[in-house]
């Protein structure tokens, strides 16, 4: 199974860290795409790269300029996915409200507080493969 992963975060260092962690956790380096905000993430999804994959997972930050995580989730609602697409929220917020809000959205399968660690990423991969 080929998994397309997209890291959405406005912080270069975070993108770098997440990429390293995902690779260590077993995600394929070539299949990890990045975006610095929700809008760019939509562009990544709109490109036909999806065709080569069986499933898609998006690691989504909440606080970002241009289009934040909540707006991105809103945009994802009425989209037709060509492959099963799931979202993992990765945020620095420890706010319970944020957590509850994210959980109420379809396709959000996990909510992770930063920093993303290898064991957290491995859990996501396992959870994701079971879906």
């Amino acid at each position: 199974m080929k998994i397309l992963s997209v890291i959405v975060d406005d912080d270069d260092l975070v993108i770098y860290l997440h990429k390293v962690v995902l690779e260590e956790a077993g995600f394929n380096a070539e299949d990890i795409f990045t975006a610095i905000n929700g809008k760019e993430a939509l562009e990544v999804l709109n490109q036909s790269v999806q065709d080569d994959y069986n499933k898609c997972i998006i690691f989504l930050d909440i606080n970002m300029p241009v289009m934040d995580g909540w707006e991105f989730l809103e945009e994802m609602k009425n989209r037709i996915h060509t492959i099963p697409t799931f979202i993992v929220m990765v945020t620095s917020s420890v706010n319970i409200e944020d957590r509850e809000k994210a959980k109420s959205v379809n396709n959000v399968i996990d909510y992770i507080e930063k920093p993303l660690t290898i064991s957290k990423a491995e859990n996501v991969l396992k959870l994701f493969k079971d879906i």
């Binding site: 260590e24 037709i80 420890v94 920093p115």
Partner: protein, 879 residues
Amino acid sequence: MGFKRFILLLIFIFSLTPSQGQQSSNSIFESNLVVKQWNNQTGLPQNTVFDIDKDAIGNLWISTEEGIVRFDGSKFKVYNGGTNPDFYSNLFNMLSASPNGGIWASNPMELVHIDSLVNVYKFKFYSNENKITCFEEDKDGKLWVGTDSGNIYHLNHRSKSIEESNVKLDAPVNFIKSLSNGLLIGTTNGLYEYLPARNELKYFSELGPINITAITVDNEQSFWIGSQTNGLFHIKNDSVIQFAERNGLKENFIIALDISPTGEVLIGTSSSGLQVFKDGKLSDFQVKGFDFNDIKSIFFYSDNLLWIGTSGSGLYLLRKAEVQEIPEDIHLTGNVILPIFEDKNKNIWIGTAGNGVNKISSNKIEYFSKENGLSNGVILSIYGSDEAIYIGTANGLNEILLGSSTINKVYTEKDGLASNIIKAVYFSSGKTLWIATRSGGIHYLNGGKKIIQLELPEFLTNAEFNSFFEDMDGNIWIGTKGSGLLIIDENKEIKHVSLTGRLRNSDILSFYEDDKNTIWIGTDKGLIGFNDDAYFILNKENGLKFSEIYNIIEDHNNFLWLSGNQGLQNFHADELERVKFEENAIISVRLFNANNGMKNEEANGGVFPAGWRLSNGNIWFPTVEGIAVIDPDVIEYYKEASNVYIEHIKFANQVYTRINNIQVPSGTVNIEIEYSSINFTDPGAINYFYRIKELDMDWENVGNRRVGYFTILEPGEYTFEVKSELFGAFSKPKAFSFAVVPFFYQTLWFKAIILFSIIALSILALDYFYRRKKGVELADLVERRTSELKRSNEKLKVAFKDIEEQNIKLKEIAWIQSHIVRAPLARLLGVVDLLSYKKLEDKELKNLFVNLKVSGEELDSVIRDIVRKSEEVIKDSEK
């Protein structure tokens, strides 16, 4: 005299047409076949295939020891105890499509009918001595069931049970076959005919007490009966002919029989493979790639497709190949074929690499070699003028006058040729014979039989010429190896065109002029088209399967055939227009190689002509192992693509195969819709397009994927549409509708209740105010109290405002805590975490330390900010 000659001529024509390579009308038994196998590693539940049939829409059904299987060319769907717990047994020994839809299958204990639903009919008379052995649906839709007790039963459709009939035989029944007026019943003790109208049972005493294993009825209503130990019997108009080992049958144990669409009887034996009865005699049916001898079942799916079920080796498909070979009775000298040319008398001239020339005429083959005067055995070019055939060899040009069988003259350097290596010969519409040789020689032979060499520019003195072509205006085009193009006009003026950039050094091997007068040249870098004002490139990036083009030949269906060393490829000539007008156009190209019957995928090029379209419409391409023959009418471009069906819809782990009235709960994540096509030749080349009509989507090209995924949140009615495309031809779209049902708060009745409640409350409120107006006496008292309350209220309001402001600040602090403080902190933790498990290079390490510092400073400033804000709050509250 005249009449006799006419007869002779007729015989002549009839007996000789096959030699012209007209394979299209041939039955599967005279064709080059392609073999494909499926077994339990590739989709079958089990490797013994008892029976094969096809249903009304074309799906293949087979029965095995481990269940019934439906196959559409790419997907197997298995019905057994695992998928249908109602089944007592998975051993289905018989299967047959019903004229009334669906298929029937039987195991020893039950009859099963599979349509969009699966129905199981238990055999209540089952015992160890009374097991179902066979069944047959007659022309009235009545289902007869045979048993090993000799009793015959039938299915009562109304009560849905298997009931006793008044037919009983004294031996186990093996086979029942429906006739127009009754049934043929094969038992272990001979053959019977049953006539229900008269309730009469007739015994075929001519056959005797044979153990019957197979029955089939041919187009002439004669019977073919297979037996276990006595071979094959043909019963026609009361005469019986027996075929057994003593008179040509390979084995007396016949296990399966079927009649081909062209009328031959195919015989499957228990352990000696296949035999065919055609033209009044038995012959072996040997197929390269199919050498399995334990036959179980045979099924002719169509003219082109033959299915064979085996005992232990799964299922085989024997398919008429798209690429045929020349008839077996034509023996060529040499395997490596070079130029091919058909003269105006329909003689086909075939040059070989070292073994001379073969001339195939309607009644004979003639050979030209060094023994009978040919100057050399390596043939590089063949072409005919009005009077003669010219054969260009590696040592001289040979002239054979039409109608003659001897070499008339050999032209060499002595006659004025620049070299004795003759690369290409061509006869133009201006009645000029053109000769291209090594060492930069372009010559023509005029009426006086004198060779005249054209003067070429200095830089072409070592050019190597490959091919000739004459355009609509009578210009002669000559392709070279790496030195561009020469164009010679009517006045023999020479124009040189050099290719530049990445096309430089292209090997120009062939030409094609489309109906818009664009000249396309076939090179080792793709097709290059020339207009007056533009040029176009068509290569692998535009969909070609290979870019090295040896020859381009258009067939009478307007498909272009391109040869190369990876086989042949074709596409419709109209696709060239798209290349001209669409940037980055991707055209629909079909590849033909070993999978399509090519004995060897490597075609030959660099000789002239490297392939020829014959007068009968067939195209012959030279290969390193014989000739690849294309009959354009056999290639079924459109027929195969024209279907797509929707298999099921799946959501919330439920699969729905009956796709009407489907209601999907709102918010269902990932609705899956599976669809497929029936195609047994190129299932992997089908592309699918789908859309949800109501969402104004464009058709989405999903390639060969046979499932669509959706998440639809808005309640409403939706239509899923899917269509398939194969080699540029589209199927009609198939559609199916489903409803996404709303959540309770999205439904109309819920909204109505809300509206009703609002109205009711308004009425109550109005009523209340009306009553209050009545109690005026209370008003004064209330007013006094109210003004007191107002004063204290205002004080409270001020206090509240303060608290609210503080609250906002506190919330802000909390938010800062959770987002802004945690952001640099999380980064710090992340970096530290990374340092603990990953060995980093110095540069990366340095970078991370810089980042650590930045994050630390950021954290510091955030904390200062929080302290400042907190102090503000405290100050405010102390006011």
